[in-house]
Symmetry: C2
Subunit: 378 residues, 2 copies
């Protein structure tokens, strides 16, 4: 029996009821039925992101919506401050580079969140900074930044704050309006429990003012076209409507559970997992660990690729490896989305078993017991 | 019983077996299984497009892949010749405008294909033209252009030929290599029998040379990143993997039928439908009609929106209306994709019945008989 379970930080498992909703017969998107469905989905996204701002839906990966945000918000004569502490922070710097957007990279040690005061300092020293780009949960290192504190700092200036919340939104607390986040981008294949193919952006009034004055050099990712369309529950270009139908369903599930409960569940699973890995004698890579995903250092001499390969072939447990400079050094396991206690305990047990088989010294059940201690306390 | 059937030129109906393939449990895209599946799908796309060129897969609507083609092929100091005879030709002009790409619009009367000699003349008179953008089937008017003849003309120059084949590829003959088409773009939700969300581009060596020399100001739609990834059966950004799984299945179906047979089926249904509409006393809008979709003029005094509304509510037949200046003046019916004789005769009969009910004078069965005459001849 091959029962594959995804524990990768995107794609994540998709609930069966969502898969079947997407398999319903095709209908057209210029119908009242679809428009009502999109309206409800958009409201669901606002609920998840805790915002009254416009929320736009793109047919693309999260990278596309982030590119759109960066290009649309890049003001002539101003520059971007790009916080980079992993592969995705690096990517937003590359987007600036590709489009000739002047930018400063604020390098953060991999595994750490950015110090909010560092951003404050940059904004003080360089009034040319017109936007600050921060990754909430850096998927490659599983480190989180304090976007609430950063929001307070940037809100005092005329700069915009762009948040890559692709692997955090819906899994970790984000209060877009309260924290004054100007653009929050996320994707479908993470905490929103959908296949990849959709990306979303919540856009503040402060951001719209800049975008409207900018007249950005963009077409497919021109945020203005999506704002105009969403007001009529439409999209400027044919939308990935089966995925939107799935979104409608998965957001219903999130609303039924309650977003605070989803955040709490994710946090609990993350805490239990971290405790388990420490009890197995492993090190958590991030000093500021995110709750949506954990990166775990693989002990010296242990073959990380082999570990993951055996987990998949013998237990159906699909973990993610390391990215970039972390290849072979860490594995990553997700806690966000359609993942519960049973999934988590099962995966932790499988990891323990394979570690033992590969010669790593640990008492069988030590990791599981540590996880259980955290879980029963909740 | 509400049995909705799409006859819109995108989205089109998706076969049940494709819908269910896409509803299989989620797996990861960095697995041998997925890479093999993508490799097979890419080969299937090459088969459909009759090409040995690289074929790239994007998570976006067709518009996104066209934007990428235009931006990647726009050489500094050169300009674009944009053939515009409908809403989509207009759109590619707007893309040039958005990105500040110098361009000439070659205006073609709506409903006509472009005269290939007009393109020849432009290329002779203006050596600055570095790319020619032509819509194969202009979805808004259902008119086709002779891209084989245009291919021969452009191939003699150093200009690139970019074809929007979004609503033609897989439904009408396209021989990318034989006709020397440099970039052929299509989308998933037309003749390929999939939901919207994927776009594809076949790219010639001549185009790659330009793109590589260009170093385009693009990121998400930078064709170079997709070429690099596809060589390893990968994508640069998380792909819409459930749609790719569906693509794999729908391409299998096309290969089983044989692409020449698919073209022939589409052509036959188009011919039968046109004969039927003429027999109903209606006029075909395009003087150079495409075979993937037909635009039909609605008689003076007949409420086009009401016609379509009744067809959907009473017969489950969903036609498309007119776009832009054709709103209220034409309806459109598709012949491409998962559409057969039974679907077509059923829709033609329903249209006849509603026309009669709305006071249009015609002998009941006249349209159906005319269609049948064409069908039995094949």
């Amino acid at each position: 029996m091959a029962k594959i379970r995804l524990y990768t930080p995107g794609p994540t498992p998709v609930p069966e009821q969502v898969l079947l909703d997407m398999a319903q017969p095709m209908d057209h998107h210029r119908t009242k039925q679809y428009q009502d469905l999109l309206a409800e989905a958009t409201n669901g996204l606002k609920y998840v992101l805790r915002t009254q701002n416009d929320v736009l839906t793109f047919t693309s990966s999260g990278t596309g919506a982030m590119e759109g945000a960066i290009v649309c918000c890049a003001q002539p004569g101003r520059k971007a401050l790009v916080v980079s502490g992993g592969k995705f922070g690096e990517r937003w710097g590359l987007v600036c580079q590709a489009f000739g957007i002047e930018h400063t990279i604020l390098d953060v040690e991999w595994g750490r969140g950015v110090e909010p005061t560092m951003i404050e300092q940059h904004l003080k020293n360089d009034p040319k900074i017109g936007m600050v780009i921060v990754v909430h949960c850096e998927t490659s290192t599983a480190a989180a930044s304090d976007i609430e504190a950063i929001g307070k700092i940037v809100a005092k200036t005329d700069a915009l704050l762009l948040i890559d919340a692709i692997s955090s939104a819906g899994g970790m607390p984000i209060k877009t309006d309260e924290w004054k986040l100007d653009i929050v981008v996320t994707g479908s294949q993470k905490a929103l429990m959908l296949p990849p193919g959709l990306a979303f952006a919540a856009v503040s009034e402060k951001a719209w003012k800049v975008i409207d004055a900018n007249k950005p050099k963009a077409f497919y990712f021109d945020y203005r076209a999506y704002r105009k369309a969403i007001k009529k529950n439409d999209a400027p270009y044919t939308p990935a409507l089966t995925l939107v139908r799935g979104l409608h369903r998965s957001l219903q599930m999130i609303q039924q559970e309650g977003i605070e409960n989803v955040w709490k569940r994710t946090e609990t699973l993350a805490k239990a997992s971290r405790a388990a890995f420490v009890a197995m004698g492993l090190k958590i890579y991030a000093t500021n660990p995110a709750d949506s995903v954990t990166a775990v250092c693989v002990p010296e001499g242990l073959d990380e690729a082999q570990l993951r390969k055996t987990l998949r072939s013998d237990y159906g447990v699909h973990l993610a490896g390391g990215q970039g400079e972390l290849t072979g050094k860490v594995f990553r396991i997700t806690h966000m989305g359609y993942i519960d206690v049973v999934d988590t305990l099962g995966a932790l047990g499988a990891i323990e078993a394979v570690l033992i088989r590969m010669g790593h010294k640990l008492t069988p059940g030590a990791g599981l017991a540590a996880a259980q201690k955290v879980l029963v306390k909740q």
